[in-house]
């Protein structure tokens, strides 16, 4: 249930299991199944549509496609993020911006992507280094990543 902190390269190499809905697992990792992730990178591509925002997040190890839906679920609930909050999140997505994105891992037309839950702008460029190190730390201590894989 946790949002696994991953580098783009790791995320793009997850094994997709053809279940319904599809499930995902990390190669050579202990908790084999993951469904949510948190990545940090720079927006390098942006496609705005009335109902969604599609963007590519580049963290230096790879580019992850992300989709942010702008339409609330139906039927609407009082506790759902309002369209205003969704739009506020969408406004944070700008080319060149460093973003921290949480969301569900999904597959669209055979391609892996993140269905964005929330978006956070990270102003400090040092946060990228910190995130990488944090990913390594968690991979090492939690997912049982082999020492060689740490590079």
């Amino acid at each position: 249930m946790t949002h696994a902190k991953l580098l783009a390269a790791e995320l793009l190499s997850v094994i997709v299991h053809p279940t319904s809905p599809p499930s995902f697992s990390l190669p050579r990792r202990r908790p084999s199944s993951i469904s949510r992730t948190e990545i940090l990178g720079i927006v390098v591509s942006l496609e705005a549509k009335p109902r969604f925002l599609k963007f590519l997040l580049d963290d230096g190890t790879g580019c992850v496609p992300c989709i942010l839906w702008l339409n609330p679920r139906l039927p609407p609930s009082d506790h759902d993020p309002t369209p205003e909050i969704l739009r506020l999140q969408a406004r944070r997505v700008r080319l060149g911006e460093q973003l921290r994105v949480r969301g569900r891992i999904t597959v669209y037309r055979g391609m892996l992507q993140i269905t964005v839950g929330d978006v956070l702008v990270e102003k400090d460029p040092n946060m990228e280094t910190f995130h990488r190190l944090d990913c390594l730390r968690i991979a090492k201590r939690c997912y049982g990543l082999a020492k060689d894989d740490l590079g």
């Binding site: 946790t2 949002h3 609930s77 506790h79 309002t82 205003e84 406004r91 040092n126 946060m127 730390r137």
Partner: protein
């Protein structure tokens, strides 16, 4: 036919105001005359200003006779002899001056058709008639060729006078008095007369006094002859002067040998039989060499210093030779003057270039047309002073400079010095003369001759262009100087706006701020000398150089304690600093009109500081300045007391800055007092009869006193031991005094030092400015020496009101090498504003006691920026935080001192971690603007925030300043991040300023990795939620984010009379990437996690279209308080919670949802049973959603055991279990992620693990 009015001169005199009249525009018509009486009713404006001419409403003319003044009347008007004729009718006689002069007018009755009348002195029956147009009363006037001047009454006397002259009038001197001794009789007397130089012809006919009336070509007027017109013919001077260039006959002259000093001259002297006639048939031009002397004609645009300096055409300066004899009634602003035979200099002074035309004994000076607006008549009454004689002894450019200096001195010091002190008297020199004679180079002085000798020995007039007078600098009135500096600043802005510098804006938190500019301009670029008293401003507390025209802030690095405010200082070597942010808008709106021009100085144009964003100050060293006028009371060099001669030694531990108590009321902006804190040493010093300093008692004894051990101490008397003390002014360097036997009890001693408060009243702000933190001073003791009693001065908490000479500065040296001084700023770009303490004073050697005193000193460590950062890392942040006091939060932390370079500073609109809510409301803050200061050293930078009014900035504060901030508050913000805050007691000391660099140095912002890693070794490593099963119960740090809310309990409470809220419990689900975890906390930390103190502007922003009108609706529902300015209205989410809880008393929010994507099934419970409004629900939703979308943070917490979590079972029940959160932790601390610091920590973790 219209009649012409005619009235008597006595009517004019009686009217006693400037009047102008005319007969007709057509002078040929001759209407009949009618006698009228002139009174006020005939004036066009019966109540006019006496400063302008009033026309008479009728056509009028004056009838009178023009003649020379009789000898008796000439005394009345003094110098009228030179220029004026008399105009008289049956009722009175007045001066007159005729523009279109005809020599035949003498002795004739005329009709004055157009005229101006000016009273010379009100009520004294004197006046001058300016005749613009006239005609003879009788049509039968003799032709011009018959004109002659003679003394009719004396024609038959028996005086033998056979000499004669025939020639061209070349020049005429002024009338002067010469003491004479008759060569034959030996009688002494005064000869009044004037000299006239004639160019005569040497042809045979002329030699025989038979000049032909043929063409002038036959005569060659080349031979110079001087005729001395002595009494009684001296009164002919006004006529002879008008005939320069005409050919004249002179009969009845005597040839005489006149001996003046060692010189003798053969000349023709007038007798009572002398007769002058015009030879209009012979026409000749002046010879070529004469015409080279030139002629100048211009309009008078200014008259200064009683007519000594005349500005013409706004560019030429006429210097009138020997002003005592010259005043010309018609010389007024607007008149056209023509000058012939003058000296000409194009002088290059240090600050400007001027064209000077100087008159001399040969000069012919005429009024060609009268002024129509100016009615100020020049009258010279005073005797010639020593200054006048001095001025006459100078060459032309130096003379101009001295006259300008006279104007400057009078302008600047009229309030503090009398005219006599400034200008001197007949026999004694004043300040101006003394100063000028010392300042001028010797080659400007010339021998002073009497008028007689000057005329006789006169050679060619001098013409020089480009005369270098760069040593002559302007003694600038300070208001003009300020004007000039502002003018420079505007030109700098204009230059920069077209260059690169304007784009060099700085950024802070992503926001761009305008560039800061500083220019340091040396005194040579101004060519001015600053002069004035040094005083401390009563409102700003700043040191200023003051004169009667204005003031300017000054910084004196070597400021002594014995500076007298009455002394006038001359500052030649200085640096002007102009700094500030760029001016937006059109610079052309500032018009200064050349503040340093001679016109502005003579005219005394005042300037006020107009550019508010400009910080302008002058730096100079007192050692380089000259004391011009000292007060009679000389300051004492050695410490002394008025009462007992006893002094305490104290060290200044802090200076409290000026606080503006009435920022909105300029009338009340005078600060009442300034304060400093000092530690006083428990011993007294006295000056012995032979000038030595004696210490009374010793430290240990004094400590004993403080312990009330009176008995032991009473056995001790004054006690001498070797050590030396001297004050700054030197002269006395005593070797006496004591051995301080301070032993292992040093610590106790330092604790025993009494802390006292020094209060400086408005009149002693100067003493405050002189104080330096860490400096040593002697304080006059109000009590005598009594070994059995503790002096009151040592009582802790005591305070002193510092008066003029209470404090005396001194320096103590604690090293063996007393000559070793710290090097001061050597960079050419750097300007020192504050010298190091060891440089400031004469070193005082306290070798023998140094150890003791050093240890007595209070710890006053000043951190560098780098060491400050390390200190911040090492500090236990749990000690910091804030205390709620009503609606305001008081920050807690350590007070530290930090020094560094101000890299940039800017206003902060609103700081989310502000100390008080008032700052966020954008209401005028009486404590000043919220500013952000970037302080850097070679490697690192810290940010200092706080309130500081721009008016209270210390001099020099700005980008590029090297500053020490004393008593900054080191505290933590709500997100547990260390920060430095300015407090009301923070004192900023500016050590130096330098030119503003446009780019950062290459080394800046680069961290010293080694020292940083070393400091981080103390941080515990980050843990993981997934490891909690294996952990012992100990405090662990986690890097995580909020995923969702479990429960939130909010309760209302009251703090004072204000509503407030408290959070008894808050439960969140946290996610660190490894696992989920239930975390629990309350109150402050819960408030931080919910960001309740953050600004909720986005809640009301236009993005939320459905909530756009929320403020009004909140206002209506009582959730929001009224503000006059909605656009500026901002507040925290917590503020609205306060008011919501007033209604519900208690609110419980539970999350019954299973999904983690959003906070789905939130249930709200009201303690009061009331229904939540839509807006209230949205507010709660907003709070929870915002926290779930919040940033990554570092949570420090403790794993809770099963028994502890039981109390939360009601809240977490099934849903939390379903969400997969099995572990529970209690959060103790929350902090923002410092990516760099925490990344280093992770590296260590990975490396070790």
């Amino acid at each position: 036919m219209e009649t012409l009015g005619s009235f008597s001169l006595s009517d004019l005199l009686r009217l006693s105001r400037p009047v102008t009249g005319t007969a007709s525009l057509n002078p040929t018509s001759s209407p009949p005359l009618k006698r009228i009486k002139l009174d006020q009713n005939l004036l066009l404006n019966p109540n006019p200003s006496r400063k302008s001419f009033t026309p008479i409403s009728l056509p009028v003319l004056l009838v009178g006779t023009v003649n020379f003044f009789s000898e008796a009347s000439s005394h009345r008007t003094g110098s009228c002899l030179n220029h004026c004729l008399s105009f008289s009718d049956s009722s009175a006689t007045i001066c007159c001056y005729i523009v279109d002069f005809d020599p035949r007018v003498i002795g004739q009755e005329i009709h004055v058709m157009a005229w101006n009348y000016l009273p010379i002195k009100q009520g004294e029956g004197q006046g001058v008639l300016e005749i613009i147009q006239w005609r003879f009363s009788s049509p039968d006037t003799a032709p011009l060729r018959d004109f002659s001047l003679s003394l009719e009454s004396a024609q038959d006397s028996g005086v033998k006078a056979s000499s004669f002259a025939f020639g061209l009038v070349k020049s005429v001197s002024l009338t002067f008095t010469l003491p004479i001794e008759n060569g034959k009789t030996g009688e002494m007397g005064d000869s009044v007369g004037f000299l006239a130089e004639f160019l005569t012809c040497m042809c045979d006919k002329c030699a025989k006094m038979r000049p032909s009336n043929e063409k002038s070509g036959l005569h060659r007027f080349t031979e110079s002859k001087v005729v001395y017109f002595i009494r009684p013919t001296h009164k002919w001077r006004p006529v002879v002067a008008k005939l320069v260039g005409k050919v004249m006959y002179l009969w009845g002259l005597k040839k005489r040998l006149v001996v003046v000093g060692k010189e003798s001259y053969v000349m023709l002297v007038s007798t009572i039989k002398t007769k002058v006639s015009l030879c209009d048939s012979v026409v000749s031009d002046l010879p070529t060499d004469h015409s080279k002397r030139g002629a100048y004609r211009g309009i008078v645009t200014g008259i200064y210093l009683h007519g000594a300096v005349i500005e013409s055409d706004k560019k030429v300066w006429l210097l009138i030779h020997d002003t005592l004899l010259v005043p010309h009634h018609s010389l007024r602003i607007g008149a056209t003057v023509s000058v012939r035979d003058f000296h000409f200099v194009h002088a290059n002074f240090a600050w400007t270039k001027v064209i000077i035309v100087g008159t001399c004994v040969m000069t012919s000076f005429c009024i060609d047309s009268f002024a129509v607006s100016d009615t100020k008549v020049l009258v010279k009454t005073e005797e010639k002073s020593a200054l006048g004689t001095f001025v006459e002894s100078l060459n032309l450019s130096a003379k101009f400079w001295v006259l300008l200096s006279v104007s400057c001195f009078k302008y600047k010091f009229r309030a503090v010095l009398s005219d006599k002190e400034l200008l001197g008297s007949i026999n004694s020199a004043g300040l101006v003369q003394t100063y000028s004679s010392q300042s001028l180079p010797p080659d400007v002085f010339r021998p002073h001759n009497s008028m007689f000798m000057a005329y006789c020995n006169h050679d060619q007039c001098t013409y020089s262009s480009g005369h270098d007078q760069s040593k002559c600098k302007l003694i600038v009135p300070l208001s003009n100087f300020v004007g000039r500096c502002e003018e420079l600043w505007i030109s700098i802005q204009s230059e920069m706006s077209e260059s690169y510098e304007v784009h060099c804006n700085n950024t802070c938190d992503g926001i761009s701020y305008p560039g800061y500019r500083r220019r340091i301009i040396p005194s040579d670029d101004f060519g001015c000398i600053l002069m004035g008293n040094i005083q401390a401003c009563s409102s700003s507390g700043r040191l200023q150089l003051v004169d009667a025209t204005g003031n300017i802030d000054v910084v004196i690095p070597d400021l002594p304690s014995d500076l007298s405010v009455q002394t006038i200082y001359e500052v030649k070597d200085y640096k002007v600093v102009l700094e500030g942010f760029g001016i937006e808008g059109d610079n052309s709106m500032y018009e200064f009109g050349e503040p340093l021009s001679c016109h502005a100085i003579f005219k005394r144009q005042t300037y006020r500081k107009r550019i508010h964003g400009l910080m302008l100050y002058v730096q100079f060293y007192l050692k380089d300045s000259v004391c011009l006028a000292s007060p009679s009371r000389a300051p004492s060099n050695l410490p002394h007391s008025e009462n007992h001669g006893l002094n305490h030694l104290l060290v200044i531990s802090h200076k409290f800055p000026l606080t503006n108590k009435f920022p909105f009321n300029s009338a009340m902006s005078i600060c009442s007092s300034l304060f400093a804190e000092a530690l006083i040493f428990p011993c007294k010093f006295k000056r012995s009869e032979n000038g030595e300093l004696i210490q009374l008692g010793k430290f240990q004894d004094a400590l004993d006193f403080s312990k009330r051990d009176h008995k032991k101490a009473s056995e001790k008397g004054p006690w001498l031991a070797p050590c030396s003390l001297a004050s700054r002014n030197g002269g006395v360097s005593a070797t006496t005094l004591c051995q301080f036997n301070v032993d292992s009890s040093n610590y106790m001693v330092s604790k025993s030092l009494a802390r006292i408060l020094l209060e400086f009243k408005c009149e002693n702000f100067f003493s405050y400015q002189m104080l330096r933190i860490g400096g040593y001073y002697f304080l006059n003791c109000s009590e005598g020496f009594n070994p059995t009693r503790v002096c009151k001065c040592w009582e802790k908490g005591g305070s002193f009101v510092v008066t003029g000479n209470t404090l005396q500065s001194l320096s103590l040296s604690f090293s063996d090498d007393v000559n070793q001084k710290e090097p001061s700023g050597t960079s050419s770009d750097e300007l020192v504003l504050l010298k190091s303490l060891s440089e400031l004073h004469e070193i005082v050697d306290l070798k023998s006691v140094s150890q003791g005193i050093t240890k007595l000193l209070p710890p006053s460590q000043v951190f560098s920026v780098s060491s400050c950062l390390q200190h911040m890392f090492h500090q236990n942040r749990n000690l910091y935080g804030s205390t709620d006091l009503g609606e305001q939060r008081l920050a807690q932390g350590d007070l530290i001192s930090v020094c560094g370079d101000v890299e940039y500073f800017h206003d902060n609109d609103c700081d989310s971690v502000s100390l008080t809510a008032s700052k966020c409301l954008k209401i005028p803050n009486p404590r000043g603007n919220n500013i952000c200061i970037h302080l850097a050293d070679d490697n690192q930078m810290v940010v200092i925030r706080g309130n500081l009014s721009r008016k209270l900035f210390p001099i020099g504060f700005g980008v590029g300043a090297s500053a020490t901030f004393h008593r900054l508050l080191l505290t933590c913000s709500s997100n547990r991040k260390e920060k430095l805050l300015l407090t009301p007691v923070t004192y900023i000391e500016i050590t130096s300023v330098r030119k503003v660099k446009t780019n950062r140095g290459p080394n800046q912002q680069m961290f010293k990795v080694d020292s940083l890693i070393e400091s981080l070794c103390h941080l515990p490593p980050l843990g993981l939620f997934s490891d909690l099963h294996n952990k012992d119960s100990k405090v662990t740090r986690f890097c995580c984010r909020i995923l969702t809310l479990n429960v939130l309990v909010l309760e209302s409470c009251m703090i004072g009379s204000s509503p407030a809220y408290k959070i008894p419990l808050a439960g969140f689900v946290l996610d660190d990437g490894s696992a989920l975890c239930n975390c629990w906390t309350d109150n402050d930390l819960a408030s931080t996690l919910l960001s309740l103190r953050d600004i909720c502007s986005s809640f009301f922003s236009s993005d939320f279209s459905s909530l756009e009108r929320a403020p009004k609706r909140l206002l209506a529902s009582g959730l929001c308080h009224c503000s006059d300015d909605y656009s500026n209205y901002k507040n925290t989410v917590g503020y609205y919670l306060d008011h919501m809880l007033k209604k519900h008393h208690k609110v419980i929010v539970k999350n019954h949802g299973v999904s983690l994507d959003i906070c789905q099934d939130l249930l709200f419970h009201s303690g009061s049973g009331k229904v939540f409004s839509i807006l209230e629900e949205r507010l709660l939703n907003y709070i929870i959603l915002s926290s779930c979308h919040g940033p990554t943070f570092i949570a420090t917490g403790l794993v809770m055991d099963a028994s502890a979590t039981k109390q939360f079972d009601a809240y977490i029940s099934e849903s939390a279990v379903l969400r997969g959160c099995m572990q529970n932790i209690w959060i103790r601390e929350v902090a923002c992620v410092d990516p760099l610091k925490d990344a280093f920590n992770l590296i260590l973790d990975l490396k070790n693990g």
